[in-house]
């Protein structure tokens, strides 16, 4: 079972890789829309990458309004 810290770490690594952002500049409580500079289509892409990485389904409505990595990790943890 992954800890919430491990999930956050994997999300930050994934976001860093796929959106070309320095990993050291990302923090768990960042607003990822602002930090990554992503639009709605890129947010969908991030959702798909997270689902594929963690092998979970994340219905859109469960992540609606979520904008920081930590809360996103909590939503994923609930599905693992």
């Amino acid at each position: 079972m992954k800890t919430i810290e491990q999930i956050i770490d994997e999300i930050l690594n994934l976001a860093s890789t796929h959106f070309n952002v320095d990993r050291a500049s990302l923090s768990p409580d960042d607003d990822f829309f602002k930090t990554l500079g992503i639009d709605s289509l890129q947010a969908l892409s991030l959702l798909t990458r997270l689902e594929n990485h963690f092998s979970v389904e994340l219905p859109d409505y469960e992540v609606q309004g979520v904008s920081d990595f930590r809360t996103l990790a909590e939503r994923i943890e609930a599905r693992l």
Partner: protein, 268 residues
Amino acid sequence: MTQSFVGETLSWELNDGCLELALHREPANEIGLQTLAELELFAAAHETLKDQAHALIMYSTVKAGFSAGADLRDLYGQAKEMGFANAAPRVRDFLTRIHAVLNMLDASPLTTIAAVHGVCFGGGFELALVSDLIIADKMARFCFPELRLGLIPGFGGIPRLKRDLGNGIVRDLLLTGRSINANKAQAIGLASQLVGEGDALKVARFTAAQVKKFDRATSTVAKRFLKPIPYAELRQEIETFCELFTQPAVEAGLRKFVESTDAQPYLP
């Protein structure tokens, strides 16, 4: 009839018996009047070229994906200009025309393949649903967000989903408006093949090369058994959509979408 065409929103080409339709309207292949007009040109070309072909591949050259669906900004702008209460005849005309194109594609004697990547939402999803096979890039995402606008899908979505998938997922997709990824799409029988990122068109071409080996007339007869077209429900869908379109919730839903700066504007 020309064997290739390059329009404002799409292009097609007949190459070695495979007809390829490429959607190329930025930013996300939104389907408005221009796309419809060019799809009608394609439908006419298909009637002429079908005897020289064995397969049809539909794909997108746009990074965002296969298609984000109907051009809601255009729809809202036109309906607002004439008043939503008066817009139903124009909406009906649009739907009747696009149903004619999609029904023709659904009944095509060719083996039809949608190579899907990125967003495949609403009307774009409905375009993919007319194909015999959906080959999904692992980053593809499918969604029917229409109920958030106070509408149902209008390009044949519900009748074709009911034809192709089980009740549980059809209701889930429609009644929650959630999007699903390609893994899920394959698990529920929507996508026939799941492929790596950027590989959907390549695999669609491999598939088209395979179906070329079969007798065309036999494949066409097999399709009639495999894929009956729900014409009565499709006609009913147009009526229901037009009835719903004049409801105040639709104007409010479209306005909210068009004016939204939300990062997830497709969500209710």
